[in-house]
Symmetry: C2
């Protein structure tokens, strides 16, 4: 079943007339009578297509879908800004695995510099990936890419648990820290997960994060690439909280 997150007005009017209409008509080649899931990011409805015109899809609601498949905790990934198009892969896979929100974090060892003029279009592009990945994985709610921001400007106050993934010299205690935090999570906890860029996290940043109440966590005895760390964290939270 294909899902579309659509604007509230679209849901009110039962008409999709944005780029999703193109996807429905030209990519998926749906026909009148075919069923799709539509959501205003609050409720999801099984719907039936009633008309297809030039870039305009009308539908009627069959019934509201109940139940959720959201991770029981709200995980925000604070990703040290990586090279190339790794951020896109991180957003894609972490959204499938249940992340709520993302920040791109400019850190001492981030190699990429983000041109202020290009920042908004990057954020827009990343939110498009959030939407597509949320649709593909049939998420109940969309993940959101919030901002690209220097580490020092982030307010971590509201998070219940704060984890920094610290690969170097994963010591015995750091290998136990992660499991003890994950196994202590309670539904609706807000979890901040900070992951360094390719070059890792500078000692001064580690000290700063410790002062803010972050716990240093090793993710097993092998060295993970920056783009793999969030997947490890989210998979294990799902395993701990969602599987019986």
């Amino acid at each position: 079943m294909q899902k579309y997150f659509i604007p509230k007005e679209s849901l009110m009017n039962k008409v999709i007339d944005n780029s999703d209409a193109f996807h429905i008509i030209k990519v998926m080649r749906f026909r009148i009578g075919d069923e799709i899931l539509v959501s205003d990011n609050e409720k999801t409805y099984l719907s039936k297509i009633t008309a297809l015109e030039n870039n305009k899809v009308s539908f009627e609601i069959v019934h509201e879908e109940t139940g959720t498949n959201e991770l029981p905790v709200f995980v925000t990934i604070f990703q040290g800004y990586p090279k190339g198009d790794k951020m896109e892969d991180i957003i894609k896979h972490s959204t499938e695995l249940g992340a709520s929100a993302f920040y791109g974090v400019m850190m001492k060892r981030s190699i990429v510099k983000i041109d202020e003029k290009k920042k908004d279009s990057k954020i827009e592009r990343f939110n498009k990936i959030c939407k597509e990945a949320s649709e593909q994985s049939l998420r109940f709610r969309m993940s959101e890419f919030k901002d690209i921001i220097p580490l020092k400007n982030i307010d971590f106050e509201k998070y219940d648990k704060k984890i920094v993934c610290y690969e170097e010299f994963a010591k015995e205690s750091e290998l136990s820290n992660f499991k003890s935090i994950v196994s202590s999570l309670k539904p609706n906890d807000k979890v901040a997960v900070l992951i360094g860029p390719e070059g890792g996290i500078d000692d001064s940043e580690i000290e700063y994060l410790k002062k803010l109440g972050f716990t240093l966590c090793g993710l097993g005895p092998r060295i993970l690439r920056t783009e793999t760390a969030s997947m490890y964290v989210l998979s294990t939270i799902s395993y701990e909280m969602e599987l019986k």
Copy 2:
């Protein structure tokens, strides 16, 4: 620290003269006196570079590195052959996460057809990725890409546990199956993990796998892409067995 898996003769002669020499001299720009890790895939040695010539690196051994960071179980990923270059990403990330071996599996819904003439060069390419990812993640042993092979030709006899990742209609029992298998793993178990291609697994294949003793496992309530499934499985095995 940079690691290189080198042929046994290289280790005997204390000379690296294959493409790794290029990497050492031109990419990493190491100098005489710099330290590297070398391994013949059995033992790992901290070594010091003693000479650098045209595409030839001499070294001396400082000491043997003891201890291992291998996952306590042998996980073989049987990956339904995916589209594009997804197989490369799967090998890369799953190697970091501790997979022992890979097969590309031709299944009913595999869209890509592998030309027999190109098969060997593909396998060679995939093993190069195994080597690089094993080096990057400082694996004690290299992962290995074994073969590209139709499902019916695989002998699953030797595996202690057999998991098939089954996303569709993740039922309550399938969400409990995975956790009960992972939490029952014992060191040195051989684990077969079968993951369908993008289009999923055909009903007849599911029946066939059940007869061979595979357990159907759901990996949480969201739909994962084929390239994300192995990361979920490996991360959670690490979490269960490696973190205290």
